[in-house]
Symmetry: C2
């Protein structure tokens, strides 16, 4: 069996943790499996590199920033190989040039295009554990690139796809994917299995365990993902295609407090208004999530949408400069709460059940948005915890099934 294992920065933050990771990998290796390990930079080292760069140049060129960033992962993989050597197991560390990991040209936010897996295969054939730098790639100019947020997860999944690995394990500081945030919902339960699509909805909604890009890539190449803890040997959550799974009505509840609602009241009711508005926001790189348009008074229309707290004021400025309307209102004290479940598509009444849970708690719904496997509501931020618990109870998510 070929297994790709990815460990984040906290898992390799110091000597003790490096040895912990080394031992876990060696256990897998000694069971007769081929092991490829993907590592992030140690602890907060990437932040240290940013500080170092900003001290020299407050706007460092992105090309040089990536050149600087890549040393973080190279440090991790070299030290990990030294630890494995000390433990008597052959290993080799590889950077993006050595793999080789070909990406698009965009510095700071590149996408993986192609992986030459020959070097890795050769090293595995010699029964070495192969330790690969996450987050980094090489573009057509032979320059280092980095993959942006969630980059190391993406590296791991891409390697698993290129090597036709049997599974790709993402090690993190939680035991797996839960029906809700265990810090908020005491009865939250770890899921054994979840589909790619459910995971995608949860990732987008702030469950925070896996980055969207890595899940999308896993779905595209049908890579079996496992999310598990680097601190214990619990089994974790498997993320895979849903063909043979018994579909659960609702898999989990997620909350995202980093949401703001922008309401534009009294826009002219003429064609192109929505296009102009959202096109202007896109140009400023403002990600808009839920959108709601309704008929206003006196032949006008109202448009509301959500974005991150951080972008809300910029969005307001952009709109005020762009078009005419009666009033604009920004509310940052709102949160998104969502239920996700692949079974939802074929079951009526799921949304209604969620709304009932909120009504029971006397929580007002400000906006509603749905997809095939998701229902999201916008509520007052202070009610988040109560809402998540109420919904979790209503769907009996805490009970073992």
């Amino acid at each position: 069996m070929l297994v790709v294992k990815k460990f984040g920065g906290t898992s390799v933050a110091n000597k003790e943790r490096i040895y912990n990771v080394a031992n876990r990998c060696i256990e897998e290796y000694k069971a007769g499996n081929d092991v490829v390990v993907v590592l992030s930079a140690m602890g907060k080292y990437t932040d240290e590199l940013i500080d170092m760069a900003k001290d020299i140049n407050d706007h460092p060129p992105k090309r040089e920033m990536d050149m600087l960033f890549t040393i973080g992962e190279q440090m991790s993989v070299a030290l990990m190989s030294m630890a494995m050597n000390k433990l008597g197991v052959p290993s080799v560390s590889l950077n993006a040039f050595q793999v080789a990991m070909h990406t698009t040209s965009v510095y700071g936010n590149a996408r993986i295009k192609r992986i030459d897996s020959e070097r890795i295969r050769n090293e595995l054939e010699q029964r070495k554990i192969v330790i690969v730098t996450g987050f980094q790639g090489v573009n057509k100019y032979d320059d280092y690139t980095t993959l942006g947020r969630g980059g190391s997860d993406t590296t791991a999944v891409a390697l698993a796809a290129a090597l036709h690995a049997d599974k790709c394990e993402i090690y993190t500081d939680v035991d797996g994917v839960y029906t809700a945030d265990p810090r908020v919902v005491p009865t939250a339960r770890k899921l054994k299995v979840i589909t790619y699509d459910e995971m995608l909805e949860l990732a987008t909604l702030g469950a925070g365990v896996l980055h969207n890009r890595s899940v999308e890539l896993a779905k595209k190449y049908n890579v079996q993902l496992v999310v598990r803890s680097s601190l214990n040997t619990h089994e974790g959550t498997i993320i895979k295609e849903d063909t043979k799974m018994e579909k659960m009505l609702v898999s989990g509840v997620a909350a995202d407090p980093d949401a703001a609602r922008v309401a534009v009241i009294g826009l002219k009711d003429e064609p192109g208004v929505a296009f102009k508005l959202f096109n202007a926001l896109a140009k400023k790189n403002i990600n808009v999530d839920m959108i709601l348009q309704s008929v206003g008074r006196h032949g006008t229309k109202d448009i509301s949408f959500t974005c991150s707290d951080e972008d809300a004021d910029l969005a307001k400025d952009v709109i005020e400069e762009l078009m005419e309307f009666e009033s604009i209102d920004v509310d940052k004290k709102v949160a998104k709460v969502s239920i996700v479940g692949a079974g939802m598509q074929s079951n009526a009444g799921v949304a209604a059940k969620m709304f009932e849970a909120l009504f029971d708690e006397n929580i007002n719904i400000r906006m509603i948005s749905t997809s095939e496997i998701r229902v999201t509501v916008l509520i007052n931020e202070k009610n988040t915890e109560r809402a998540v618990n109420a919904i979790h109870d209503k769907f009996d998510l805490g009970e073992d099934r």
Copy 2:
């Protein structure tokens, strides 16, 4: 004109010094020249990396050690490019993969085999300052290697040769090459010009300004070297072939206190004794310098040699285990003092004049060794300073010629 400039770790140890180097390079660039900069790791960063590795594994594999080492120079070049960008001048940083810098396979002590200069030429054509990582290379397995001691100097000279640069400037913390160590001899004078061979003898003898390998390489490819200070704009010392130079009788006096004398008395006088002895030392990586063999009493022979203080005891142990003799004596309180000069070859009496200087000071000579352009004597360590001054005066080296 194409100029290669090399700056060591102390020259890029902090923000202020990085900007100092950036400004010096930009000055050259703005004069219309093509500039290639070679950098070492910042300050003591390589030592920090060694500590980091030793903490994980007291005997880290050399291959992984080189993987770790190379991040030091990559950090320097990326930050330097950011500084130049801040100063408004286009530049690009390149590592050993990007150059590409092909070396032999030996980790920790590789030699440069071939440089693909295409990338550098392209960047220079776009009028960028090219900043290259010193000390590192890539071997035929596509692994990082490092060049060992004096590695960044060697990188600079090799690049100058490959690019047919007009000169290769080695920036250091002294103004150039002196007739003697200015800290020991107050009248010591900076040399304007010196030949490769003279510099080679001086480097071997502990003048410490340039590493032998870089001078040998410069001689082989006829690269004009300049040693100068990174702290001021003084002209420095030019190192080149001696064809058009008026040969100086003696160029300088060098002293090396890190010498020990090992005397083996009463060895059997039979063939192969010297071979066996020095072969055994070579296998233990003990570098032997001066060798003296003389006839001993009762049909035996005596062999004396010098090595570094550090190796002396090991040498004694090796010899004691290897062969029979009457007695062995190790004296670490000795120093080598040498005069070097290309003019010496065709001038009789140079050695005699040196011995006279020592006799005038009543300094006893323990061993003598000569080459075509060098005379070295071994004396008691405590007399070093007096000896160097006496010789310097005797040859009038302090006077401008």
